[in-house]
Structures are given as structure tokens and as C-alpha cells.
Amino acid sequence: MLKFILKRLAFLPFVLFGVTALLFSCLQFLSPEMRAALYVKDPRQLSQLDAVIEKYGLRKPLPVQYGIWLKQVAHGDLGYSETAKMPVADAIRSFFPATFELTLVTFFPIMIVGVFFGVLSAVYRDKFIDHLTRFVAITGYSLPSFVLGLGLLMVFYGRLHWFPPGRYTLDTDMLVHSDAFRHWTGLLTLDCLLNRQWAAALDVAEHMVLPAATLLYISVALLLRITRSSMLEELTKDYVRTARAKGLPERVIIRKHALANALIPVVTLSSLLFIGLLGGVVITETVFDFPGIGRWGVQAAQQLDIPGVLGSTMLAAFLFVTANLISDILYAVVDPRIRVGN
């Protein structure tokens, strides 16, 4: 198993190299003046574009430019984002924790609901629960997130005043920006708890309910259907028939045998789902005025903020590659044949 993991880890730098090379090559379609923003940390430098172009060899051959840029990236210099009005690395540090927190509170309910009801709908095929999950899956898959988001806002905020948009209320805002508040993890709910600020923790959690619910509804659909079809496939296989013939109770067959095998595609999907959420949930963050990385990424794209676009894309690529690695490892854990095959 360790050998397998090491092999996969050794592969990681090559993948990242490929991703960065591809992204960097795409930028060559832009003029050196536009690319110059990638090399500055302070907007003042942008007033001396020629000096920046000269210093970083932006008119030199692609491999030379790429080498210089890679060196910059290795030092954490990703340029200056006009959209965020700060260096890209700082922007990622500022926006990512909110998205990460939202992802965490969304992902586990998605997994629990998706797998549980996916299994149920397979086991009770064509029964009420199956029809219900199908309805949820179809509506969740086809409903645009801004429609659902606005609908939820109108009901739960506009009418009931339960769950407001944004990140927190003014009291929490004052608290988290006070000197007394320690930012242990960057995850605000957790930080509030660690600071023993229970009301603030509840406030932050309340602000995540609607975006999380929106994401849950639109993201769980695929997981439901994949779990269901994978489970159905397993339930018709010979080993399940054999188990039944041997008189094993149905719940043991489902839990211990069929589910373990049915989870393989679910593992892949869940890692992609996790990354999809981490990479930023653009529309949801916009509708709920949630200051996450997705909203920044889309603003950067709209404003042709090249360093911002590249920074958010690189982050997404890095997360994607890492998640793939984790999912490969989980694969091997779930299905020993994979690591043997390797």
C-alpha cells in the first residue's frame, strides 16, 4: 500500500508541471503588457510596465519565461489581483477559508444523504422512496442554483427572517475583527468555538445554512443516482445471490458486501464533488453574498484580471490533482485489486 501511495505521490509533480505549463502557454495569447501583472506584488510596479517586461523576460522564448514564472510561483508570488486589490496569494488566503468552511459543512451532509438514500432507493426499487429520490435527483439536477438560491432566500430570509445572506451579522463582524479574537484555523465557526464565542459560532453557522442547503440539493442528485445504479448492479451479481442462498440476512448482504463494492464509483464522484465545491461555487456565493473564492474567481474572469484568473485556476487544478490522488488511495483501500494491479 505504501509503495502504491509513493508511486502516486511521485507522479504528482509531473501532473502539476503539465497543468502549469498548459495554463502558462495559454497566456501567451496575451500581450507582454497584459501578462506583466503576473509578476508584480505591488500595483505601483504596473506603472513601469517596460521595466517589468524587461526584468521578467516577457519577450523571451516561452521556456525561458516559464522558468522565470515558475521560480516566482515557487516563492509564492502569483502576481497582483486588480479585482481583489491585493496580491493573488493574499487573495487566496483571504477568500479560500470561507469556501473551505462552506465545503466542509456541505460535503458531509451530501455524502450521508446521497449514499443513504441512494442505497435505499436501490433496495426499495420502484417503491415510494425510490420515486421520491428520483424526483429529488431530477429537480436538483435540472434546477439552476440561482433559482433555488433566490427561492430559499425569499422564503427563509425575506419572509421568515431565519437565515440571512452574507458571512455574519455586525456583532460577529465586530467580534472577529477585534484584537481579542484569535484566528486559530481560519474556519470561522471553529474559531468562534475555540474563542468560546457560542453566539458568534451560531451566527456564522446560520449564515451557512442556505448556501449549504442550495449546494446540498443541487449536488446530491448525481450522487443519489450513481449510488443507486451502482448498488443495483451489485445486488444482481452472483456473490449477492450466493450470500442470499446461504441464508445471510439482507441487511448484512447490503451493508457488508454490496455496499462496499458499490462505493467504488461513489468514491471517485465524491472527490470530484469535493473539489467542485472547494474550487468555488460561483453562483451560490454570489446569490448569498458569501465572500468565497468562487465569487472572486468569477469577478476576476469578468474583469480580465489575468493574475486572479490564473491564481484561482491554479488553485482549482492543484486541488483537483490532490483530490484525485486521495481518491486513488481511497480506491485502493476500498478495492485491494487496484493496488495489486499496480
Binding site: R35, S47, V155, G166, L170
Partner: protein
């Protein structure tokens, strides 16, 4: 649980139903929340010349004078940091109308605890003038005090201009004495809205000018980054800056308890940038916002909302949507002009230097469509650049109408026929959340692309502060702006819109010596009829030269919670009627 489900069911039913008016207790009674679309660019009083920034400055810093209620004329002024409004009658204005004496109030403290002195006021007036960034507000004082609209000519400092400014502003005992270059009637209304008091010592300690004649040039025409950052404010006003949040662009002000008058009723003021109108609407509905920005096209959606009132009939001094062409676009790293050449894939930086291009664009605007769709039929096409109520207001019919045939005719003539033959591509940029600007861009795109398949206009959106930055850097091919009066005089419209040293022309690279001369002549003319004739001539030239196209003006109104009390509309207050002087406001 059952109660919650019942409530949810009721809410689902009610979500689509119109709400009935209801009185409610004020939510967060000591906190005022304003949800808007534009993020401030700068909190440096000598830099800021946009309403989003100035509306914050006006609550943290203080001016020598202030307007009483809705008044905008010199007779409507009241003393603020000065102890009296100078008049010829009280002897604080000299008989020749050139010397103004301001006795500075004692016992006033800056928010850092230091006392306000007449020297601070002198320093603030000088800093405001000599800071003189391109397209900044300095000309407002430079013109009357020094007699020149800028400290530079052809990019070089005018010899002796610093000395002139220093000689014009002096401290005599408790007084600050300002000697104007020539009599200038609106002078007092300018110091009621600009050049607030700053602490000289505090500014110097934060890397700003120290107030010495020998050093001012080093601090003149700085870049934004060289001005005071948005984290630093130190005024004498009723509120102090608690925080500017760079990720959300939120501004939080807190009450200044050491304020020289009675402390404000509100403890906190929060200005939130919320681009989505639906979210803003829900915020005011839930009572989490006290005032929201509502474009006219969404106006029907807020009428009749429970606990929300719309204050109508607010007479503004504004040209609310103007289309300004950039004559010399900055091509460096500028994707807004594509290839930077007239090759069908971009435009050259001097694309709008050709009058036919400008006229073609002016004929491509569907003015009536804009009025119908955006202003919901309630506005009128602007015939001139001066708003109603001021000398020189041009009623009559506008110079340009939507006329695709004429637009095509001018496009065919432009650049010797090359525009029509090769086509062009450029970006139309609007600021996030501005539905009127967005719709205007979409209309222009549709109308122009229909004329020739080789014409291509891309629509882009940027944050307000980025918009200001890009216009300052002349990166916008077309700037969609508005102009709100700094003081109620036609000069404050023709100068910033048409004079080569004005706000827009410096950003457009536009200069018309004939207009400059006439604008100067008009402001020095005392006879109203002669003045009106001069402004008519100025606007006629502008109509033909078309550096700017006024689109249309609609009615002004303010959408606020019913529990907001004390709001007084003054058309010269920055971002009025949405923003406020929060000292006057309380919630009940």
C-alpha cells in the same frame, strides 16, 4: 417543530404574495446599514472625487461650513468648523469680494485626540489644492484661490504656483484668511463640501506632505498608492473609521464619542456592497438594511413592501448618465481595445479622435428605449449638459436621436472608410450592479453590431473602484458616468465635463481650446443673460464636437425603512439621496 413547519408553509404561501404595510420596531436601533453597489476608491479627501468615497469622507471629516437642510445656495450655509459664515455684512468678506476670513472653532478634536488648530485648516486647504492629482477635485479650489485650474501645464509644474497658493491662505490668530485670485461667488459652497480639516501632524506622521513650501512638489499629482490608504482616516467628524474590509469592500464607521457636538445617535454605520438587487431587496425587507440602492427599473418591486418607504420627488442637480469617449486610450496591456489596431480585431488608441465615430455612436443610442426600459417611461432625454434649475439649462430638443441610418453614414465616413471596411472590436465596460449602465451597453452592442457584421462590442463588468482606476488610466474606450453637482452652478457641469483640465476630459484626453476659453469667460461673467448665452454656445459646440453624450435623466427617490428618521435630502451631498449625513439620522 410543528410551529416551524407551519411558519414555513405560511412563508411559502406568502413568498409570492404582495406584502401589506406594517409598522415594526427598529431592528438594531443603533446601527445603520446602507446596501449599495459601488465600493469606495479612496478615503483621502484630496484624492477622492467619486460619490462612494466622498459620502464616507463627509461623515468622518468636517468642512468649514455646512448646508442647512436642503439648501444649496450661499445663503443656506451654516458654520461648522468655522464659527461664522463669512458675509460682507459681518465683515468676514472684504468689500472687493476677494478676502474671506474664517474664525476656527475651539475645542474641536481629531479622532486621534489631538486638537484642531487654524494651522491644520490652512494645511488642509493647501494640501487639497497642491495635491492636484490628474482628474482630482483640486481644481475646485485652485480655480478661485490661485486663478488656475491646475498646478501643471503640459505636464510641468507652473513656476511659482506653490508660492501663490501659500500667499493666498494664511493664519492670523484664530482665523484662516483666504484671498481669492478673483471674486468667485460659489467659493463658500465649495468649502462646505470639499477640503475638510485634516491634522497636519498626523498626515506627516503617515508619510504625507508636511505642509512646507519646499516639499509640496514631491507630493503633487501622486498615484493612488501614494495617497492615504483606505485603512487610515482621522477627522473631526461624528463618525470614525472602524474598518474597511478589502474582501467584501464593506465600510464600518463607529460613533466618535469625543465629537465636539453631541455624539451621534447611531453607534455604527455599515456600508455594504451588494451587487445583487434581489439580495438588497431582501435585506431591506428583513430590516437588515436601512437604505438600499434601487435603480428605476426595479422601483416597482419595492413599492408597497412592508415597513419600507419610498421618498419621492427629490429634485437633484445631476446628469445621471453620460457617455464619454476616450480620445487617447492607454493601449499598454489594455484588452479593452483588442489588437490596438484598426484591423477588425481591435481599435487604435485614438479611435474616438474621429468625430464621425463619436457621432455614429451618438446616433446608435436608443434614447427612448432606455427611457422606456430603464427609467420605466419616467425620464426624459437630456438636451444639454446643464441640469434644470441652473443658468444655461437647455430645454429644447436634443441634438441626437436614435437613427441607425445616420449612424451607418458616419461609420462609413469614419477613418476614411476603413472602419466600415475592416470593422472593429472594443469592450464596453460597466460597473458591477449598475443595471442602467449594463442595459445601455447591451443596447449599444445590439444596435451597433446590427449595422455591420464586422462590428463587435464585448460587454465587461468591473467593480466600481476598478472602473475608476481604469478610467483614470484611460483604459476605458467609453466611460459611462454621471455628474452630481459639487456646488449649484453651471460652471460645475461644463468645467468637469468639457474643460481640458476638468474631471472627465483629463481622463478622456480631450481638449478643445475654444471651449476652455468660453468656459473661463462664462465663469467670470456676472450678467446672467450674457452668461446664459455663453453656456448655450458652449453646449452647441459640445453637441457638434460630441466628446460626451448625455443620455437621459429620471426622477430621484430614496428607498428606506420607515423607522429611519431625520434624513434630510441635500442634492450636493455625495451619493444623495441614497447616502446620508448619518449624524442627522436615528432609528425609532
Amino acid at each position: 417543530m410543528i410551529k416551524k413547519i407551519a411558519a414555513l408553509a405560511l412563508a411559502l404561501a406568502a413568498a409570492t404574495a404582495p406584502a401589506a404595510p406594517a409598522a415594526a420596531a427598529a431592528k438594531n436601533p443603533d446601527t445603520f446599514v446602507y446596501a449599495t453597489i459601488g465600493d469606495p476608491e479612496s478615503f483621502d479627501p484630496a484624492w477622492a472625487y467619486d460619490t462612494a468615497s466622498q459620502s464616507v469622507i463627509a461623515n468622518v471629516y468636517e468642512y468649514l461650513l455646512a448646508f442647512k437642510g436642503s439648501g444649496v445656495k450661499p445663503k443656506d450655509l451654516k458654520p461648522l468648523l468655522a464659527t461664522a459664515v463669512p458675509t460682507p455684512a459681518n465683515g468676514l468678506i472684504s468689500p472687493d469680494g476677494r478676502t474671506y476670513r474664517f474664525k476656527i472653532r475651539k475645542g474641536v478634536k481629531f479622532q486621534d485626540g489631538s486638537p484642531l488648530t487654524p494651522d491644520d485648516v490652512r494645511y488642509s486647504l493647501l494640501r487639497f489644492m497642491l495635491f492636484d492629482r490628474d482628474g482630482g477635485p483640486s481644481s475646485l479650489l485652485l480655480e478661485p484661490v490661485v486663478g488656475q485650474a491646475s498646478t501643471r501645464k503640459d505636464g510641468k509644474t507652473i513656476p511659482g504656483i506653490g508660492e501663490k497658493a501659500f500667499a493666498a491662505v494664511a493664519v492670523k490668530g484664530d482665523e484662516v484668511v483666504v484671498k481669492l485670485a478673483k471674486p468667485f461667488a460659489p467659493f463658500l459652497t465649495i468649502v462646505a463640501s470639499f477640503a475638510p480639516a485634516m491634522s497636519r501632524r498626523w498626515c506627516a506622521a503617515h508619510g504625507q506632505w508636511d505642509g512646507e513650501l519646499a516639499t509640496w512638489e514631491k507630493f503633487s499629482n501622486p498615484r493612488l498608492e501614494q495617497s492615504l490608504p483606505k485603512t487610515l482616516m482621522n477627522g473631526t467628524g461624528p463618525f470614525q473609521l472602524e474598518r474597511f474590509e478589502p474582501t467584501t469592500k464593506e465600510v464600518v464607521l463607529t460613533r466618535f464619542d469625543g465629537y465636539w457636538r453631541k455624539p451621534a445617535a447611531l453607534k455604527n454605520v455599515v456600508i455594504k456592497v451588494v451587487d445583487e438587487f434581489e439580495t438588497r431587496k431582501l435585506m431591506i425587507q428583513a430590516g437588515d438594511a436601512d437604505v438600499i440602492y434601487v435603480p428605476q427599473m426595479y422601483r416597482p418591486q419595492v413599492s408597497g413592501l412592508a415597513g419600507v418607504q419610498v421618498l419621492d420627488g427629490l429634485q437633484d442637480l445631476e446628469r445621471s448618465l453620460l457617455l464619454n469617449f476616450t480620445f487617447h486610450i492607454n493601449g499598454a496591456g489594455n484588452s479593452n481595445i483588442g489588437s490596438g489596431k484598426l484591423d477588425g480585431d481591435g481599435v487604435p488608441p485614438d479611435f474616438f479622435n474621429d468625430k464621425d465615430v463619436r457621432k455614429a455612436f451618438a446616433y446608435s443610442i436608443d434614447y427612448q428605449g432606455y427611457i422606456k426600459d430603464i427609467l420605466r417611461g419616467t425620464g426624459t432625454q437630456s438636451a444639454g449638459l446643464i441640469p434644470p434649475g441652473l443658468i444655461g439649462y437647455k430645454a429644447g430638443s436634443p441634438r441626437y436621436r436614435f437613427d441607425p441610418a445616420k449612424a451607418a453614414e458616419h461609420f462609413k465616413k469614419a477613418w476614411g472608410g476603413k472602419v466600415w471596411e475592416k470593422g472593429f472590436k472594443l469592450a464596453l465596460v460597466f460597473n458591477a450592479g449598475s443595471a442602467p449602465a449594463q442595459t445601455l451597453c447591451q443596447m449599444l452592442k445590439k444596435n451597433i453590431e446590427k449595422l455591420n457584421p464586422k462590428f463587435q462590442l464585448d460587454i465587461r463588468v468591473v467593480q466600481w473602484s476598478t472602473y475608476l482606476e481604469q478610467t483614470r488610466q484611460r483604459k476605458m474606450p467609453i466611460q459611462l458616468g454621471a455628474w452630481q453637482a459639487d456646488y449649484p452652478d453651471p460652471h460645475n457641469f461644463v468645467f468637469p465635463l468639457l474643460d481640458s483640465a476638468g474631471y472627465f476630459p483629463t481622463q478622456q484626453g480631450y481638449s478643445n481650446p475654444e471651449l476652455d476659453k468660453l468656459i473661463e469667460q462664462a465663469v467670470r461673467t456676472l450678467d446672467e443673460h450674457k452668461r446664459a448665452a455663453l453656456y448655450a454656445k458652449i453646449q452647441k459646440i459640445a453637441d457638434e464636437d460630441v466628446p460626451v453624450v448625455p443620455i437621459a435623466d429620471g426622477p430621484r427617490y430614496r428607498v428606506q425603512r420607515s423607522w429611519v428618521k431625520g434624513f434630510v435630502f441635500n442634492p450636493t451631498f455625495p451619493d444623495a439621496p441614497y447616502s446620508s449625513y448619518y449624524y442627522d439620522i436615528h432609528k425609532e
